[in-house]
């Protein structure tokens, strides 16, 4: 079908003003927060499930690829229209439909920013636990697509543990519900399968989320180190002790520098690493637990452990953590973030090897990551405009993922495979594993129309 016809058909569904197709718009919907780019054929902004369904039915009939897009902040090329087609941008479907305190559920449209719901929940003393650093702009559709994590996911689990159901538009345009407000629906756990499927199996048009009363007490501590390994060892030691804090985040020297230049978060500039440790729950016994954690930090040669004294101090520390990716652009214009994840016992060893990769390629590496989960985020710093450097960066990134895989870990903890890490899938999976996954894809999307070219590498059969 030619593009003019396509635009005309889509305009009939969503109205002319909600279909974009100029060269400029195609460029604007060709990127996300990764280093990849491609071009869609057009962009639509639906306002309802019904419209999404009609768009998809049309695309299905005409065999046009579809890419769902929230804020386009994913880091793996997840919203790059690799094979062109239609981008569905969910900015119009951004209503919080229901906050159902009695049943501890919220129902949202996919375009709602994560933090927007959280701010609304605060009024009821409730929280939605997952907290990606990008929460203020990431959408629930994107969180759903990537199975996003965040600092507090150490204790509370990632997005998949908090999405209990969804209204889904299937690749043929059919609308179904999976899961729901109640738990344990009979049948396969389609919700669990769909979360993290990067828009390749179904498009969520409504999401049912678990919300819970906010913890009674919280305590935030900052442990300061003269060596990165000591910080890594502390993380291993805390976990080995059986303590699962609410968060256990690490920032290294380079990151601290960048953050402190952006905002004054209160990280000491002369430290090699800091750990941001938070515990929450009942107030009783919290002091004792904090003391034990401080002891472990000291046993692992922490220079100092400070506790946030006020809510402002706590907020400052977190602001620093959440803005860390952005802040490193002060050092070099661009960064590639590797999302490799390892067993927590392997942290010190893997960190050392990661830094060696930086040396090998002569590229600065800043580390800021969910240490308690073993989820590394080495940020390889460079200038995208330098093509030589860009090539080196991709090689270094891949090598880091290899190190993680070899340490018994995996290539992505929360950012997704997208277009970026397809090759590296073979670091952790066999062709048989991949073809099993391919079967799932075929069951949902036999014609490969939803976000084609993502997640699964080609395998020879």
């Amino acid at each position: 079908m030619n593009r003019d016809q396509m635009i005309e058909e889509l305009s009939k569904i969503v109205g002319k003003e909600n279909v974009l197709f100029s060269e400029t718009d195609l460029l604007l919907y060709g990127y996300d927060a990764s280093l990849f780019k491609a071009k869609p054929d057009c962009i639509v902004l639906p306002n309802s499930t019904e419209e999404v369904s009609q768009i998809v039915k049309f695309a299905h009939r005409e065999k046009i690829p579809i890419v769902a897009r929230g804020s386009g902040t994913n880091l793996s090329g997840g919203t790059i229209p690799a094979r062109g087609g239609i981008v569905i941008h969910f900015s119009r479907m951004n209503r919080v439909l229901e906050i159902d305190i009695k049943n501890q559920r919220a129902v949202v449209e996919p375009g709602v920013f994560t933090l927007t719901l959280k701010n609304q929940l605060a009024r009821y003393g409730y929280v939605y636990q997952p907290d990606p650093a990008s929460e203020r702009v990431s959408t629930f559709g994107g969180n759903f697509g990537e199975n996003s994590g965040g600092p507090h996911c150490l204790k509370y689990g990632v997005t998949t543990n908090h999405v209990l159901g969804a209204e889904i538009v299937l690749p043929d345009g059919e609308i179904i519900w999976v899961g729901g407000k109640a738990l344990d629906h009979p049948g396969y756990d389609l919700t669990g399968l769909l979360v993290g499927s990067e828009g390749t199996l179904g498009i969520a048009t409504k999401l049912v989320l678990r919300i819970v009363p906010k913890p009674e007490a919280v305590k935030t501590m900052l442990a300061i180190y003269n060596s990165l390994e000591d910080a890594g060892r502390t993380v291993s030691a805390i976990i080995a002790e059986g303590i699962v804090p609410a968060t256990l985040e690490m920032l290294d020297r380079l990151t601290i520098k960048a953050v402190e230049e952006s905002i004054h978060a209160g990280f000491p500039l002369d430290a090699e690493a800091v750990l941001l440790i938070e515990i929450d729950g009942l107030k009783d016994g919290m002091e004792r637990l904090a003391e034990r954690i401080i002891e472990i930090c000291k046993e692992n040669r922490a220079r100092e452990v400070k506790a946030a004294r006020t809510e402002e101090e706590r907020a400052q520390l977190w602001a620093g953590r959440k803005g860390a990716f952005g802040a490193v652009a002060r050092l070099r214009p661009n960064y590639l973030v590797c999302d490799g994840t390892v067993p927590r016992t392997k942290l010190p060893e893997v960190l050392t090897r990661v830094m060696e990769v930086g040396k090998k390629y002569n590229l600065p590496i800043a580390n800021v990551f969910h240490a308690g989960d073993g989820n590394l985020h080495p940020l390889i710093l460079f200038d995208e405009r330098n093509e030589e450097e860009l090539k080196k960066v991709h090689l270094a990134g891949s090598e880091i993922l290899k190190i993680c895989a070899e340490a018994g870990g995996t290539i992505s903890g929360e950012h997704g495979i997208g277009t970026e890490k397809k090759k590296e899938m073979f670091f952790v999976f066999t062709p048989k594993d991949i073809s099993a996954m391919r079967k799932v894809k075929r069951a949902f999307d036999p014609e490969d129309l939803f976000n084609p070219g993502k997640v699964l590498p080609e395998v020879q059969t």
């Binding site: 009695k102 049943n103 199975n147 150490l154 689990g157 990632v158 998949t160 543990n161 179904i176 519900w177 999976v178 407000k181 109640a182 738990l183 344990d184 629906h185 009979p186 049948g187 396969y188 756990d189 669990g192 399968l193 993290g196 499927s197 199996l201 009363p213 913890p215 009674e216 291993s236 080995a240 059986g242 303590i243 699962v244 729950g281 009942l282 009783d284 016994g285 994840t341 067993p343 927590r344 016992t345 989960d373 073993g374 018994g408 870990g409 995996t410 290539i411 992505s412 929360e414 950012h415 495979i417 952790v428 999976f429 099993a436 996954m437 079967k439 799932v440 075929r442 069951a443 949902f444």
Partner: protein
């Protein structure tokens, strides 16, 4: 017959003479809804499982995986059973990495054995799952049936605790997903698909779990009520509070009587709210006193506190409710209903009413923090004559759950009844996708044919 002979000789070749049963008398005791398998095999490792499955695939033979069989009765009567595949010899702990708070083990080992081992490691760990059949349930069986227990209120269920899996798919492929990292978004989350798949998509051979340290202290608070409304209001308040119980179960009188709690309850007690508390000393003390206070607001009778041994045995009796009934050879039907959390009290009340109208005694255990209700019915011996009213009863109970955004599945019932009802509750449109998944993954329909929802 020739086919059977060939099958058996092939199985012998794979697992060895000693590891299969073909004796028809033995096999008779292993009938599933009346269907007798042709052979029971005990593969010794995943490789053997793969070869067995590949053979079944090539010859389109029906295969049903089984652990210790504690839940093998759940589901529609199978269309066909050729091979019963026991995981009993897949019973190794392959990686116990307590420092990483993970454990990987094969599917045939019992949870009990794993917990025993974990308790001895370092400061003491456990897998926070407490499903029924404490003694016998195997890891594979628990995961394949998505079995859970009271403590799911705090710790979640298999979908929250299993982070990696190795399974043999219907074409014989050994497929791995996830791993031993607590976070993982590499590829599709096939573990989620296999959890609760009841042996219809393949054989789960190995799983990796998240671990936790054994809590410093565990206590049970039993809070008796005369009126369900009060118990319900109390429960809703606790759920909405910042207290952090590990479990909240509400039992009706018949459930209490059969359960025989280790302390005596007063005559007037009609409902018992049982709250499990896991945590640190200081917290538990305060929670006990708060529960007491909050209970009073809703006319609770005097609470009872159970410690250590009493605490343990209360919950294991509760978990093993149906196992005990089975051991006592009491005929019962059991259902699992799900619904909105806040509607539990209402649903329980409606259920009591509907059941009392049929004049059949019923014990109810309401997992109050999760919106799940387990109903046990004791129809006595003359089930046959009551068949019609049973079907009607199931219909009513199901529609009650559906009205509250849930559904109801029949967990155990005699085969003749199962044939006349929808064991898995009412089907929803998402069933179409389940069906397609089944067809893609198991195109020849060899795994537990017909047993699952909608005859999958």
């Amino acid at each position: 017959m020739i086919r059977t002979e060939k099958l058996i000789s092939k199985m012998k070749e794979i697992v060895g003479e000693a590891h299969l049963i073909r004796d028809s008398d033995r096999l008779k005791t292993l009938r599933i809804d009346g269907k007798r398998p042709k052979v029971l095999v005990y593969p010794g490792d995943t490789e053997e499982v793969s070869r067995i499955v590949a053979y079944a695939f090539d010859h389109t033979l029906a295969i049903i995986p089984m652990g210790n069989g504690t839940k093998i009765e759940v589901g529609n009567p199978p269309e066909k059973v050729d091979i019963l595949l026991s995981t009993q010899r897949l019973n190794r702990i392959t990686d116990c990495d307590c420092d990483n708070l993970t454990l990987t083990a094969e599917s045939g080992i019992t949870l009990k054995e794993v917990q025993k081992r974990l308790a001895q490691e370092g400061r003491g760990y456990f897998i926070p799952l407490d499903p029924p059949f404490t003694e016998k349930a195997t890891l594979g069986g628990i995961i394949a049936t998505n079995s859970s227990g009271p403590r799911r209120y705090m710790y979640g269920t298999a979908r929250d605790l299993v982070i990696g899996m190795k399974a043999v798919f219907p074409n014989g492929d050994i497929v791995v997903s996830g791993g031993k990292t607590v976070k993982n978004v590499s590829g599709y989350d096939l573990s989620k698909l296999l959890i609760g798949s009841y042996g219809t998509l393949g054989v789960i051979c190995e799983m990796t779990f998240k671990l936790l340290p054994i809590p410093e202290k565990e206590v049970t608070v039993l809070i008796p009520f005369i009126r369900l409304e009060d118990g319900d209001a109390f429960v809703q308040e606790i759920i909405d509070s910042q207290l952090l119980p590990s479990s909240i179960d509400t039992l009706n009188r018949p459930a209490m009587e059969r359960l025989k709690p280790p302390v005596s309850l007063t005559e007037e007690t009609r409902y018992l709210v049982a709250i499990g508390l896991d945590g640190v000393m200081e917290g538990i003390e305060r929670e006990i006193s708060e529960l007491r206070e909050r209970g009073k607001k809703y006319q609770s009778l005097d609470p009872l506190i159970l410690y250590s041994q009493e605490h343990q045995s209360f919950w294991s009796a509760l978990r093993d409710f149906s196992e005990t009934l089975k051991r006592q050879r009491i005929l019962f039907l059991s259902f699992k209903s799900n619904f909105l959390i806040s509607k539990g009290g209402e649903v329980m009340k409606r259920y009591e009413k509907i059941m009392s109208q049929t004049g059949i005694e019923s014990a109810l255990i309401w997992r109050s923090g999760n919106g799940i209700l387990y109903s046990y019915l004791f129809p006595g011996r003359s089930l046959k004559s009551k068949m019609e009213s049973m079907i009607e009863l199931i219909r009513q109970l199901t529609s009650e759950a559906i009205k509250n955004e849930g559904n109801m599945m029949v967990e155990s019932a005699p085969t003749i009844l199962k044939k006349k009802i929808s064991v898995w509750g009412e089907m929803r449109p998402e069933y179409q996708v389940m069906r397609r998944l089944k067809e893609e993954i198991d195109p020849r329909g060899i795994f537990s044919p017909g047993r699952f929802i909608g005859g999958i």
